[in-house]
Amino acid sequence: MIGRGLRAFGAFWYGFIVGDDWRVAVGVVIALTLTYVVSRTGGPPAWSIIVAAVALLLVSSLRQATRPPPSTHPPGLTHPCR
């Protein structure tokens, strides 16, 4: 009972914060970590990392969402009706 409640609680917050594409959340965390490191060590302007990350993450997430579903037939096999 408690386990189910905890799982539902965790699932709610996962859906609320992370949403449909977990790669976006992971990408944001990585980009901000890189920004922190670059801002401490010097080098290129640290804000440019976030700009590049947002541009790439959005494109990659949209690609993922619009990718055709994988074929149900193994490559090389023809459809059984043909």
Binding site: W47, V59, T66
Partner: protein
């Protein structure tokens, strides 16, 4: 960032969620009776106020750099999710949110549920439907208003924007007594997605130690730049869909998740 930008961002985000919550409350009221539906909606609003009262002071106590980093990261994740869905909808890869359809679905489900009384609540189904609708749609707005407001040291203005949006939507709902299907919800979600992404980029990077050229003025470049980029992506996806090489289905319904926004 000017106070007007803060007000507009919170007002629009709150209005969009309030329209969706209103659809659920009206469906519960029409199908099951207004008493339990309105009691559920008021209980939901009271719960949100408790969350604000608990989270508000806690958020204000966090050091500003840590707050900007955490809140910036969360806003950026939220913003990118809103923007992603808005782009998919605008390019025809995902069905547009339709309040009339959402209303019909909620109405049909509410009409088939068994009536059950609990304590002073006459119809428990109508109560919980309204309560959940208000709490779930409102939670995101509470978070956005609190985080944007505390980052700008103006929680009162953010709360005022949220309250104004709820009042405007509730008044419109009372007038038409139907879901607000004429509100350009998909366009509003696109605008909110752009603004949340831009705020998230700005605060997240500042919290991580970066310094934007022009400081606050950078937001005046970031917001239109993110918007323009999103519009270019919409155009590219539409072009790809027309060429028949990019889309999975005509509408893509159900293939891109069902969560918020």
């Amino acid at each position: 960032m000017g106070n007007s930008t803060l007000f507009i961002a919170v007002f629009l985000a709150c209005a969009v969620e309030a329209v969706e919550a209103l659809t659920i409350v009206i469906a519960a009221g029409v199908a099951r009776g207004w008493r339990s539906a309105l009691t559920g909606a008021l209980a939901g609003l009271a719960t949100l106020m408790v969350v604000v009262a608990a989270l508000g002071p806690a958020i204000s106590a966090i050091p500003i750099d840590a707050l900007r980093l955490v809140v910036g990261a969360l806003l950026l994740i939220f913003g990118l999710q809103w923007l992603r869905k808005a782009i998919l909808r605008a390019s025809g890869h995902k069905a547009r949110h339709d309040e009339t359809l959402a209303f019909q679905a909620a109405l049909a489900a509410a009409r088939h549920a068994d009536p059950r009384r609990r304590g002073t609540v006459v119809d428990w189904y109508a109560f919980t439907l309204s309560f959940e609708g208000v709490v779930l749609e409102g939670l995101e707005v509470v978070f956005i208003a609190l985080s944007v407001g505390s980052n700008q040291h103006n929680v009162a203005l953010a709360a005022g924007a949220a309250l104004a949006a709820v009042l405007v939507v509730a008044a419109a709902g009372l007038l038409v007594r139907a879901p607000l299907s004429r509100v350009p919800e998909n366009t509003l979600k696109f605008v909110v997605g752009v603004m949340l992404t831009a705020f998230g980029m700005y605060w997240g990077a500042e919290g991580a130690g970066a310094h934007w050229p022009g400081e606050d003025l950078a937001l005046l470049v970031l917001i239109p730049a993110v918007g323009l980029y999103a519009l270019v992506l919409v155009a590219l996806l539409r072009y790809r869909a027309r060429r028949g090489s990019g889309s999975t289905t005509d509408s893509g319904v159900g293939s891109h998740g069902t969560g918020h926004p």
